[in-house]
């Protein structure tokens, strides 16, 4: 009798071993796969943790950044910075909002560098610096700032100290500037930071700090106009910094007048004040220089919303404060100051007459001066203004 199941016998040992080996191979492959998956999971988990930590850090940075509502800190735009400058981006360091009056002029150490707007000529130590407003701010290391020739912002750098006195409406970089009006120049000279000077309502001295000009990091010239010939990435800075520190030349298109007038002022080491002008009426083409001068200043009387070109005007009834005439007539602040009819008259560049009304006969670009100063230049009162004043 035959048994079907015995026809082919039983699997031999070699067969069984082969099956076992194959199954073991499958198991090992599977274990390796599981191990790989586990490793990948661990790596992914680590990456996830890292991402969460980074996001938390960024959120914290945003929180800190939200303390500065006027300025948005974001990475520099492509092409803003030189390609070889290793600029890092970081959150702003929180600063105290209350200004410390008469702070020490020693430099404030920045752990990661300075605030910097790509392609610009200035670095900043104060995130609140007005020159940073509305710009995309990054951070540049101290070494890179030095190697690229970027200089400290004259307004916010704590390493730059300014000088002023309690009765001086200006702050200066030159401590000997504007000493002629002080009773004792050595007395009450204050060394202040820009922030302190601003908090004390001081304005930049038109002589030693000069009017604002614009320049770029790589440009040869400084400009009177921010967008002269379509230039971009300009920094607003005082003329002395552009000319003396950055060694820029005046732009032949827009800054020649600024350069001439200011260099004259600086070389004379004297303010162009109404009184000073009155004392030196024989200066050549004075009218033109004065008409182009953006650093003319006057005395404002807040109580009456008047400005006077003469400090000794008889119509001054209260306290007056010196101010730049261009700022006074600008309506940005919302305060409309009127010219004092007693001491202030106007003249157009190259005009024969001086006027009581700055808009007389459709006159544009009239500059103010005292009546005595205009008369010293040989100008006469405009007949129309004369008849108007007679009628009044």
């Amino acid at each position: 009798m035959h048994d079907w199941k015995r026809a082919f016998g039983k699997p031999n040992a070699a067969f069984e071993q082969r099956v076992q080996r194959t199954l073991r191979q499958i198991q090992e492959k599977e274990e390796a796969k599981v191990k790989k998956k586990l490793t990948l999971s661990v790596v992914l988990a680590c990456a996830l943790c890292l991402t969460v930590l980074t996001l938390s850090a960024l959120a914290a940075a945003d929180l800190l950044g939200s303390m500065k509502p006027d300025v948005t800190l974001s990475p520099l735009q492509e092409g803003d910075a030189p390609s070889d400058s290793p600029i890092v981006f970081a959150s702003p360091t929180p600063t105290t909002d209350s200004p410390t009056v008469f702070a020490s002029p020693t430099p404030t150490p920045m752990p990661m560098g300075y605030y910097y707007v790509g392609g610009h000529a200035l670095y900043h130590v104060d995130f609140d610096c007005s020159l940073l407003h509305g710009k995309e701010v990054g951070i540049i290391s101290n070494d890179d700032a030095a190697s690229l020739g970027i200089v400290a912002c004259p307004y916010c750098s704590a390493s730059l100290s300014y000088y002023t006195r309690e009765d001086d409406p200006f702050y200066h970089v030159d401590e000997s500037c504007h000493t002629e009006t002080a009773a004792d120049p050595s007395d009450d000279l204050l060394s202040v930071s820009w922030k302190d000077a601003v908090s004390m309502n001081k304005t930049p001295c038109p002589v030693c700090i000069g009017s604002s000009v614009y320049c770029t990091l790589a440009g040869l010239f400084y400009h009177a106009e921010e967008n002269c010939q379509g230039i971009e990435n300009t920094d607003e800075m005082p003329l002395y910094l552009a000319a003396s520190v950055l060694l820029k030349e005046p732009c032949p298109i827009c800054a020649q007048t600024v350069s001439d007038s200011t260099s004259d002022h600086v070389s004379d080491d004297k303010h162009i004040t109404p009184s000073a002008a009155e004392s030196d009426p024989t200066e050549s083409d004075e009218t033109t220089a004065r008409a182009d001068d953006k650093s003319l200043y006057c005395y404002i009387e807040n109580a009456l919303a008047l400005y006077h070109m003469s400090e000794n005007c008889a119509d001054i009834q209260g306290v007056v404060a010196p101010a730049l005439w261009t700022d006074v007539v600008s309506t940005e602040d919302g305060v409309q100051y009127s010219a004092c009819a007693n001491c202030t008259v106007f003249a157009a560049k190259g005009g024969v007459f001086y006027h009581m009304d700055p808009d007389c006969s459709g006159m544009t670009n009239a500059f103010p001066a005292t009546k005595a100063y205009m008369e010293s230049l040989g100008k006469q009162l405009c007949p129309e203004c004369l008849s108007a004043s007679t009628l009044a």
Binding site: H2, W4, F8, G9, L23, I26
Partner: protein, 162 residues
């Protein structure tokens, strides 16, 4: 299905796999190769198995395919005279082994599945992807051939003894 479960199930059906493979290949070494390839393929394609209850038939079908592939690859390039007769494995019924080995391949597999492994005609038909009637025909032919071969074998033995 985990690799552990897979291993356990394969160990439980390894004799079946051996018989099916041997039924087609008639060589223990080729049989082991075919089963190895079959196991690797089955593991690789385990996700295509819809119901685990069909695991055994599913693996057998894979094994049959592997065996056919192997037979195609190992088509004889020498003359039939030089092909050695398959040697019956030890502990096997040599007469029956030789009789089955002489059967045509088409008849051999239904015999293995139906008589050795106990699959019904319909299950065998499903496994071989042929109609049940064909399975019955082949089984009938196989029985008839085997009967003749075994009778001849018995007569020869009687003559030798007698």
């Amino acid at each position: 299905m985990t690799s552990q479960q897979f291993s356990e199930q394969i160990v439980s059906i390894q004799t079946t796999l051996y018989r099916v493979a041997y039924g087609l290949l008639l060589n223990q070494t080729d049989c082991a190769d075919a089963v190895q390839d079959c196991l690797l393929r089955a593991w690789e394609k385990r996700h295509t198995l819809r119901e685990e209850s069909y695991f055994k038939t599913w693996v057998i079908r894979i094994l049959i395919n592997e065996c056919y592939s192997m037979l195609r690859r190992k088509r004889p390039t020498v003359s039939l005279d030089k092909i050695p007769e398959p040697v019956a494995p030890p502990e096997s019924d040599r007469e029956l082994h030789d009789a089955i080995a002489r059967l045509d391949q088409k008849l051999r597999l239904p015999v293995v599945l139906h008589y050795m492994e106990g699959y019904s005609v319909s299950e065998t038909a499903r496994l071989l992807r042929i109609p049940s009637g064909t399975v019955k025909t082949r089984l009938s032919k196989a029985r008839q051939t085997l009967r003749l071969q075994l009778i001849d074998e018995m007569n020869d033995e009687k003559r030798r003894n007698g």
